[in-house]
Symmetry: C3
Subunit: 214 residues, 3 copies
């Protein structure tokens, strides 16, 4: 199982980096300065985890103590500032890594809540929060309605991932295999949703949609 944990760490780095890149790109498109770009990148990378840790009593939050969130944020910001045309063109791999981050954060978020002794509802809610909280904070700071509340199957994939973790825990299955199954399911749903442009039902009228677009 040691190999799994090394793979985990590599996936977590890749996911965190993709999250940070989505933050720094959005911040640069909005015309923020260098500090603003780093701050938004860091917020996307660890915002969801910080909210989770505050809610489960894991003090100080891992997002503040672990060096790799900060390094991911600073590296992503440096790349975005220096090679913006290239960063914009690699949208496709970034969406892939972002889906990895989404799946991984949903799974580890739910696991951490369970390991602190909290109930199934808390684990599911905080699994979703870990996965999408950073992106929501990014959009709030950039003064727009969070994109994940408007369209695409994104938080719903995280929901399914967190539910699988909680079910596996309830049935006393091996947590490593449950995590792998949950990761693959969540990642696959997200990639299929991206590929086929799946959306949840929405009541968006043309006028309200236009207002959100920029």
């Amino acid at each position: 199982m040691d190999k799994i944990h090394s793979a985990y760490f590599f996936l977590e780095l890749a996911g965190t980096f993709a999250f940070a890149l989505s933050g720094s790109t959005a911040a640069r498109q909005r015309g923020l300065d260098l500090f603003g770009i780093c701050a938004i990148a860091f917020t996307v990378a660890c915002g969801g985890g910080i909210i989770r840790d505050l809610c489960i009593g894991a003090i100080p939050p891992a997002g503040l103590t672990n060096w790799y969130y900060l390094v991911a944020a600073l590296t992503a910001s440096a790349l975005t500032v220096s090679f913006f045309p290239i960063v914009q063109r690699v949208n496709h791999p970034v969406l892939l890594f972002d889906a990895i981050g989404l799946a991984l954060f949903a799974v580890t978020g739910a696991q951490k809540a369970l390991s602190y002794g909290h109930n199934a509802q808390v684990a599911i809610l905080l699994g979703i929060t870990t996965a999408v909280g950073g992106g929501v904070l990014r959009d709030v700071l950039l003064n727009r309605v969070p994109i994940i509340l408007q369209k695409e199957i994104y938080a719903s994939a995280a929901l399914i991932g967190a539910v699988i973790v909680v079910l596996g825990n309830y049935l006393n299955l091996s947590s490593d295999w449950v995590a792998i199954f949950s990761l693959i399911t969540c990642f696959t749903i997200r990639m299929l949703a991206l590929h086929f442009h799946w959306n949840l039902p929405s009541s968006a009228t043309p006028s309200s949609k236009e207002k959100q677009e920029e």
Copy 2:
């Protein structure tokens, strides 16, 4: 006093549901998708309480562990999505339940802070936060200046409710009777303010008001 506590629970359900309904309606008007509607409904129902619980050290926050916030949010969302024309027409009863929720959350918020051993200032500030925090988060997520910061006697009614709880505690009065008196006062002020269109003094200029309207 057992009857009072059953009545409490019924009122809390009604208030939570009204809060969730205000969230799901606003989310739907903004064109959010199904997940967005549920997320905003849940945020209004338990956002204020979660902030309070983080500040007093009640981990995990009651809003995440108690099933009825989640059920209220999902029921309100289902109703809003399925019967939107009806939900829009029942504005009057919703405002009534919302006033009940406001009064109840202000009172229970202040009580919970006191029961965790915090001082009067903390109890008053967190009583207001419990009552209005969810609505503020709703407006921040929907990308508009929180309505309660702009007009109407709303947070002020919560302030008076929380102050009565703290005063009663200071004077060692029976907390059940103080709570009932506080509830009725806060609820009455809010209903009178709604009926007579009371507002706090404001410096709103026409231009800034127009900008907020949609």
Copy 3:
């Protein structure tokens, strides 16, 4: 060293008051009502410190228990409502006090994180958060992209202040003298940046800049 601590307290009052004034002025310009003005003033004065205290486990947050944040917020709001033309004209001293507040909050924020036993990275991140968190929350509540993410050397000055505190702690220097040196450095950088209109590199295009202006 007793004199230093009295001076500290006076500086903290002045800084808190300047922060509150920036909040109440911005809230009044946006047309908020009396409660909204007080709420924004209070948020700027203690928002950063509350986030820091939640992250380091200092429950309840000092911003909620200490009377002077509340008094600063209410006094600033009363002045803004009663003497708005005068408050607008004293912009220069307010910027001076604001720079004092920035330096002081960065230093005390980093110190408090260290005194709770957290590592250097946590102390630096939370030093910055203490200094700029309130202003970020103000801008989020007033529905605009936080100004400190867009231009001016502001958070960067707080960063340098927090780094000096952490370095001094690492080298086992007297924390009082380190704090004074850090305060003066951070304050000086901020005043120089104001005077010479220093900005960090930014990718702002005219179109995105116009959109933020009001």
